[in-house]
């Protein structure tokens, strides 16, 4: 499997604060990669670097064989920002049609994207009048409308009800099956289980980069929450963590 995204020794400072300290990873084409980590760990910064909107101090980010942010990549990349970035004073449909037009696509594609995120009923409502969850789906529709080769989704399912979350994940999967590469950040561990690969970031360092099964196996637990706690402690103490599940029970959950 070829890689869609390659990050090498990426160092990013935001203000005076170092956010990513020499992070390296490779994301395979046609996969769904989960980006996990506590708030402030550098997830959004890494995503911004992949999209090419983040000023980086050193290191390289290569997307589809080109440096991140390259003009030729702009038609091939979709980006969902964490806070919905759509026009509150336009309807859902108008937003989707505008973003579709930026990629040279027509109304049919825009309307399909609105349907895909479950907003067909609300298509003619102003985004400003929608609930928070609907608003973030309107933003998602604008990110997936071009069916980009690389799709960077910063917490796409926050505030969505479980049924809808399930449907959205089915669509992410479908996009990946059609060759798109998805990077999805999340706080929810049951979503991590749906990913092909997981990247766990903590304080700007990558502490896991593997399949969900391998992450669980290396931590010796079937529970991803527990697995991450174990990996974090192992990293923090510098000693191998206990393998037996009995011994991890002391970890507060």
């Amino acid at each position: 499997m070829t890689s869609a995204i390659e990050v090498a020794d990426l160092v990013v400072h935001r203000g005076a604060r170092p956010v990513l300290h020499g992070l390296s990873c490779t994301i395979p084409e046609g996969s769904v990669t989960g980006l996990l980590g506590p708030s402030g760990s550098g997830k959004t910064t890494l995503m911004r670097a992949i999209v090419g909107v983040q000023l980086v101090r050193s290191g390289t980010v290569t997307v589809l064989g080109r440096p991140a942010g390259d003009a030729k990549l702009r038609s091939q990349i979709g980006y969902l920002t964490q806070a919905p970035s759509v026009y509150a004073d336009l309807t859902v449909r108008e937003n989707a049609r505008y973003f579709a037009a930026l990629y040279g696509l027509g109304q049919a594609e825009a309307d399909a994207a609105v349907r895909d995120v479950g907003l067909a009923e609300a298509a003619s409502q102003l985004v400003g009048n929608l609930s928070g969850g609907q608003r973030s789906r309107a933003s998602l529709a604008c990110a997936i409308v071009s069916k980009p080769k690389v799709l960077i989704l910063d917490e796409p399912t926050v505030g969505q009800d479980p049924v809808l979350r399930d449907e959205l994940w089915a669509q992410f999967r479908e996009l990946a099956q059609h060759g798109s590469t998805l990077v999805v950040s999340s706080h929810v561990m049951d979503e991590a289980n749906r990913c092909d690969r997981l990247l766990l970031i903590r304080e700007g360092l990558l502490i896991a980069d593997d399949t969900p099964a391998a992450v669980k196996a290396s931590a010796g637990t079937e529970d991803l929450d527990q697995a991450f706690l174990t990996l974090i402690r192992r990293q923090g103490s510098g000693v191998p963590a206990p393998r037996a599940t009995g011994e991890t029970s002391e970890v507060p959950s």
């Binding site: 400072h13 935001r14 203000g15 980006y79 026009y87 930026l102």
Partner: protein
């Protein structure tokens, strides 16, 4: 074409905001009516002031509207997202230019119609030139507003750029004190402010039946100032941010 889609999007946003549209049309006409009654007893003064105001209102209003609209693009994240798409910076800037230029033409059309038809505004030159210069002024206000929004982090700051960038131009353009009577250093400042030329162009239309060379030169200077402000504004649109 992305430019025209962007223009359409901005006009659609405006259309959903009915109150703003109503105010765009109503405010200049109401203010002109106020001037008309203020100068009721001084024949000729209304002609002088109303003509200049037809050019000044669009400048100020478009400055305010654009600086807030662009600030919103920045603070809501739509700007960052737009810059990750195939949209070029010029598509966005000229999209704003076309959309608000069109809105300004409607505004200037209504204001001029009222001034000429109901308030008996009298100019030697044709009303069409007044509208043309008013639209150029609106686009100038828009371009400066786009630029100013880069230096504002909040709406509070953005609206305060209006007195910083617009009021000095208004004070020094020759409306309050004829430029010849100003101190030399004030004249020098006045010489580099684009609104000075817009006002002079309007006065040319007021005084001459046919468009004069001075009017076309002044119009060209205003257009040049628009280009300079737009280029500077383009420089403030960064695809990569810290």
């Amino acid at each position: 074409m992305i430019l025209l889609h962007t223009t359409g999007r901005i006009l659609r946003q405006l259309r959903h905001d009915r109150r703003t549209v109503a105010m765009l049309v109503a405010v200049p006409t109401l203010l002109l009516t106020l001037l008309y009654f203020m100068y009721d007893s001084q024949p000729g003064v209304f002609d002088h002031i109303a003509l200049i105001m037809l050019g000044v209102f669009p400048f100020i209003i478009m400055f305010l509207i654009t600086s807030i609209a662009m600030l919103r693009e920045r603070t809501t994240g739509t700007l960052e997202r737009l810059l990750t798409t195939p949209l070029r910076k010029t598509d966005l800037l000229f999209g704003y230019g076309l959309a608000f230029g069109l809105a300004a033409a409607v505004q200037a059309g209504f204001a001029s119609a009222l001034a000429y038809l109901l308030l008996d505004l009298d100019t030697q030159g044709a009303a069409g030139y007044v509208v043309m210069i008013a639209v150029a002024n609106a686009v100038l206000g828009m371009a400066l507003g786009l630029l100013a929004s880069a230096f504002a982090k909040t709406e509070f700051q953005a609206v305060q750029f209006m007195p910083v960038l617009a009021v000095p131009q208004l004070l020094l353009c020759g409306l309050f004190v004829p430029r010849e009577l100003m101190a030399g250093w004030l004249q020098a400042i006045s010489d580099v402010l684009p609104l000075t030329y817009a006002v002079e162009a309007l006065q040319e239309v007021g005084a001459h039946a046919e468009p004069t060379g001075t009017m076309w030169r002044d119009f060209g200077i205003v257009a040049g100032a628009v280009v300079v402000a737009l280029v500077a504004a383009a420089g403030t649109l960064r695809r990569r941010t810290p």
